[in-house]
């Protein structure tokens, strides 16, 4: 299953890298009349500014991927950092951080993101990345924490304490390498979450809609009433890309769990 996931991701990565070669037009350029139906010239027609939608789908993979992956990275970083601190050091720190995790876990993400990004006056990919990452690290941190909690009491960790390893070394050299698969799984999940999150924020117009991502394409499509005007493909194409990319990350995350989690393995 992970092969399918990896295949799809690779497909989109290649698409992003070679976007200028793959697309006929610059995605930002008015190259035709607005609202042209699909034709040989414009496979997916043109948008309200007469820009080629196909080129936008291709170029949209760039920012969508970048935002998705960097948000995923940041989220994983925060989750891992906080989860490990809470799990390893325990005590009051753990209690405080745990409550914080739970809070961020329970408070509904999108409203929080909406609220925050509506107050942050600057719009742009960076803001989107920060907003999503800062509000959504809770579940990852919780998983990491419980894993650290169990690893911390594993005997090899105690053994390293007995030979005199320092705490930092234990965290990063003894515990972390044993959690890489978990961290990877969290990362893939975070990317999935980030891709959808970005799309949602963009769809609401809470990101910089002049940058082309699949999310902003949906925003424009919605604003141009694409569905009512029979331009369903304008809504369908970027949405499908989001679903595909999301699914591929979900597949990866799932496969990692399936392979490494002994409980999910065949008995």
């Amino acid at each position: 299953m992970w092969k399918i996931g990896l295949g799809i991701i690779l497909f989109f990565v290649l698409m992003a890298v070679f976007a200028p070669y793959l697309s006929k037009y610059s995605p930002n350029r008015t190259v035709s009349l607005p609202y042209q139906p699909p034709s040989r010239e414009h496979w997916l027609g043109t948008d309200r500014l007469g820009r080629d939608i196909m080129s936008q789908v291709i170029h949209g993979s760039r920012l969508s991927l970048i935002i998705g992956i960097s948000t995923g990275l940041l989220m994983t970083l925060i989750a891992t950092g906080i989860g490990m601190m809470a799990g390893y050091f325990g005590g009051l720190l753990d209690r405080i951080l745990s409550i914080l995790m739970d809070i961020f876990l329970v408070i509904p993400g999108i409203p929080l993101m909406i609220v925050i990004s509506s107050y942050v006056r600057v719009r742009g990919p960076l803001v989107v990345i920060l907003v999503i990452a800062l509000t959504s690290w809770g579940s990852g941190a919780r998983v990491i924490r419980s894993q650290v909690l169990s690893l911390k009491n594993r005997e090899f960790v105690m053994a390293s304490r007995v030979v005199g390893e320092s705490n930092l070394r234990i965290i990063f050299f003894e515990i972390l390498p044993n959690m890489l698969s978990l961290v990877a799984s969290i990362f893939f999940n975070s990317v999935l979450y980030a891709i959808i999150g970005e799309a949602s924020l963009s769809f609401l117009g809470l990101s910089d809609v002049s940058k082309i991502t699949w999310g902003t394409m949906l925003y424009w499509a919605q604003n141009a009433n694409a569905l009512l005007n029979g331009m369903w493909y304008w809504v369908f194409a970027p949405g499908l890309c989001i679903v595909l990319l999301g699914t591929s990350f979900a597949l990866l995350s799932f496969s990692i769990d399936e392979i490494t989690n002994p409980r999910l393995k065949a008995r």
Binding site: V106, I107, P108, L218, L228, V235, G239, L245, F254
Partner: protein, 324 residues
């Protein structure tokens, strides 16, 4: 009992945190709501109206942060969230009173349906994990998990609302005529079909996956093997032994995932013009209606927290280990 107290404690802390967050965020950012309030008139507004609005909103007076915070807490607990900027001079309370029930109804029913359906599918997928049907359900749920709620909403709206014309395109009940009694109820249900279908389908994947994984964990337990050795029938083992235990972590997961569902529901409401808080929040954000934003955020958090609390109670009720 101890468990319950613990959860109550968490509830209070989280609520307090949400409240404070709610207070802090807007104050970290500068801004002039009066102008935003008028922005939705677009470029056809008169500059003089802005000044009048500032005075009306009491934004011309300064107060220190602490006083504001105390006032804010007091107001929150007395249910006084001030006056909505957007619907000036309607109190926020009233705006919420008219929108919260819609969201609660919509999210409540569809989440329960979706959870039950997803859990059943998950039970089956876990039970039949080695068969085609199990993998089929699994892949289906992985795909569903990657669908953005609003996109699904748009597709449904297009296909079932616009193309096929089976369902209404907007609103929570018919606006063509005034309906009363049972007719009104039917109209409400009819209007809720598409939004709730969206919510059900979009959140289904999550429940399936959670339950499937729990099932598989549970299926490795010795008591399942023993139950099989006893010669009990499959269905009985699947439900009474496996699912009954697998549901426990699912319930916790349910509370947690509720945040995601509510998030999705808000987006869905926007697409379907459903008059719930999601749509209000969207409009409040567009017009920088601080009091309304804060109140909605507060209530959404409160509802999710309450639901979590209920789930915790349910958990305690279902798990004798916690109950005892």
């Amino acid at each position: 009992m101890k468990y319950i107290l613990n959860r109550l404690f968490f509830f209070v802390i989280t609520l307090f945190f949400a409240l404070t967050l709610n207070f802090v965020i807007p104050r970290l950012m500068p801004g002039d709501p009066a102008e935003r309030l008028l922005m939705r008139f677009g470029p056809n507004i008169d500059d003089r109206a802005i000044e009048a609005m500032r005075i009306a909103l009491g934004l011309d007076k300064e107060k220190d942060l602490f006083t504001q915070y105390v006032e804010y807490l007091k107001n929150t607990f007395t249910g006084n969230f001030g006056i909505s900027y957007l619907h000036y001079p309607v109190p926020v309370k009233q705006v919420l009173a008219s929108s919260l029930p819609w969201t609660l109804g919509l999210v409540g029913t569809s989440t329960i349906i979706s959870f039950i359906l997803g859990t059943l599918l998950g039970v089956y997928a876990g039970w039949r994990r080695d068969r085609k049907i199990g993998s089929g359900i699994l892949i289906f749920s992985l795909c569903l998990r990657s669908i953005a709620y609003f996109w699904l909403a748009m597709l449904f709206l297009y296909v079932f609302g616009y193309r096929l014309g089976w369902f209404p395109l907007a609103n929570a009940y018919s606006t063509k005529e005034n309906l009363y009694g049972i007719k009104f109820v039917l109209s409400v249900i009819y209007h809720a079909v598409l939004p709730s279908m969206t919510l059900i389908v979009a959140s289904l994947g999550n429940w399936i996956l959670t339950m499937r994984n729990n099932m598989i964990s549970v299926l490795a337990e010795d008591y399942i093997i023993l139950a099989e050795a006893k010669g009990l029938d499959e269905g009985y083992i699947m439900l009474r032994y496996a699912a009954r235990n697998a549901i426990l972590p699912s319930i916790t997961a349910f509370g947690i995932s509720l945040g995601f569902v509510v998030s999705g529901a808000l987006l869905t409401e926007i697409v379907y013009s459903y008059p719930g808080v999601g749509y209000q929040l969207y409009r409040a954000v567009l017009s920088q209606d601080f009091p309304l934003i804060q109140a909605i955020f507060f209530f959404v958090s409160l509802s999710v927290l309450l639901a979590n609390l209920v789930m915790d109670f349910l958990y305690a009720f279902l798990d004798p280990r916690v109950r005892g």
